[in-house]
Symmetry: C2
Subunit: 326 residues, 2 copies
């Protein structure tokens, strides 16, 4: 069957849906979500059958001044508990910790003192040893762990294979394929997913995918990876996330056939909260400048600025990008 796992009408019981709205979406609004937004998202995700909800980052308060960010940049235990209590639900709670930006030894509590279930460690290819240190710390404290290798569209094959081997031999549970720049086409995701899965399965690990929508391919890339055997699937409500945003949760839940998933709960949340924050000025989603950084395999920051400045001279912007690339 052309190397695909499962069919379009069957249930893949290994699938785990991860809502990253607060974390990747927090990059849109500096994590300034109201408590009502967060509480309603938590309840909507439970209703929607989402398996994990990522609340934000565990960022170091020595590096980042809490005055400049909403509380989900830091995810203090108390702040999460204010929303979820002891989280008496089947949905698990995740936070992200960046290599080099997290005081993980102090700020990540022992698992039994925390309502958090999973620590997601974000790393670049050249900081994998530091990521493994964080993985082992979190694992020893009792957490599930993922490792998210960012910007792999800039990494050569030999380095990627070496990095995957190192990670697969660590205590990590899930290795994420991350398309930070929205640069990959489904054909490439097919091959990358197979590469990640081959290494991960040798060591009994799972593989996840986190896609960006620069070329309107976040959903297509996510279901391509899924059909190859990737099981942890990141999405955000209405695609909310940095720049072009992410795979839409509405699309993903509409695709999955497990009856536990309920896209109506998600679109009701959109109706109540997302339309409002968009009206109030939060901007994300596919647009021509993101397409251009995606095609050029470049960081979206210049496109984000272009849109912030309300520029529309796309042709000139493309020339600027080409200059930067030289």
């Amino acid at each position: 069957m052309n190397g695909r796992k499962g069919s379009l009408i069957s249930v893949r019981t290994d699938v785990q849906v991860m809502d990253c709205t607060l974390r990747d979406g927090g990059l849109v609004n500096n994590f300034m979500f109201t408590d009502e937004f967060v509480k309603d998202l938590y309840l909507a995700n439970i209703k929607a059958g989402v398996d994990y909800m990522e609340f934000g980052y565990k960022a170091s308060k020595e590096i980042f001044d809490p005055k400049n960010f909403g509380k989900w940049k830091f995810c203090d235990e108390k702040d999460i508990r204010d929303i979820v209590g002891d989280n008496k639900s089947d949905m698990k709670i995740a936070v992200m910790a960046d290599v080099g930006r997290c005081d993980f030894r102090n700020d990540i509590l022992p698992r039994e003192e925390s309502v958090i279930d999973m620590i997601r460690i974000a790393t670049y290819i050249n900081t994998i040893p530091a990521a493994i240190e964080m993985i082992e710390d979190a694992h020893a404290k009792g957490y599930e762990t993922t490792v998210n290798i960012m910007a792999v569209s800039k990494v050569n094959d030999a380095d990627l294979e070496a990095g995957l081997e190192m990670l697969a031999q660590s205590s990590v549970d899930v290795i994420y394929l991350v398309d930070s720049f929205g640069a990959f086409y489904p054909e490439q995701i097919e091959k990358l997913a197979q590469k990640y899965l081959a290494v991960a399965e040798k060591y009994g690990k799972k593989v996840g995918i986190h896609a960006h929508n620069n070329q309107q391919l976040a959903f297509a890339n996510t279901i391509e990876a899924l059909s190859r055997g990737v099981s942890f699937l990141d999405a955000t409500v209405n695609g909310m996330g940095r720049g072009a945003g992410n795979c839409y949760m509405e699309l993903l839940l509409g695709f999955l056939k497990n009856p536990k998933y309920n896209k109506v709960a998600t679109v009701s949340f959109v109706e109540k909260h997302i339309l409002k924050i968009k009206e109030e000025g939060a901007v994300w989603g596919f647009d021509i400048p993101y397409l251009m950084t995606g095609i050029l395999n470049a960081h979206p920051s210049s496109a984000i600025n272009f849109i912030k400045e309300k520029r529309t001279d796309y042709a000139m912007f493309y020339q600027e990008l080409l200059d930067d690339a030289l």
Copy 2:
């Protein structure tokens, strides 16, 4: 190589890009484009290396009152010539003729009297004999022809195979795979493209694809079909088209590696004209109601109305759709 034709960095010289902005986009604004818009689009398409530009429909004036539509609903010879003169360019000109809605014997001139190069005949599965009559008329008059079988996501396999055989044995040049409802996933497009190609190639015909963006898959489905051997690729500027719209020309030209294609010409047109008509109230593109009709394999008309009425009660809309489907 997993059944794919060409690679991600090579040129597929069989590719033909078709701009359908006036035709499918005309369904957004009743074909009320200014002459400046049409002229600039014509020039932009030439610069962009587009191979065919579809100007609109050849609709019957006995059925449709010209007072209610812009002139591109009818594509009179004189109106096209007012824009293109004798079309001294490498780009060819196409128009669409719907089965049962076109006085093709009178309204389609002999090829030598017309600046039109290609007649695209749109049919449903159950009107294929009428489509073949139109194909043979246009072919005898000297035109290139395509046939676009609409709504195939509602057609059973046996009927589709029989219809494809009938069409492949006609004089038609290109048979189009059309995802009218934006219901197909890339996995399905892969199999359908192979089915269309198998029949078409037996008789020396080409295959095209026309996708809709209900699930943010128009571009993904287009490049999936392309990689399987489909060569005629429909797209519209900024995805302008009915409901969720089409494959974005910007995305498609950004993907293709033939140096003749130039996406900058297209984004310059967006900057000058598309932003303006959007500000003036033209509405198209991905939105939750289209996702829902796409998932349910339903005509987008109810979603178009939902958006026109500025409703946002998505959850209730989904229940209404389910009622309609029963």
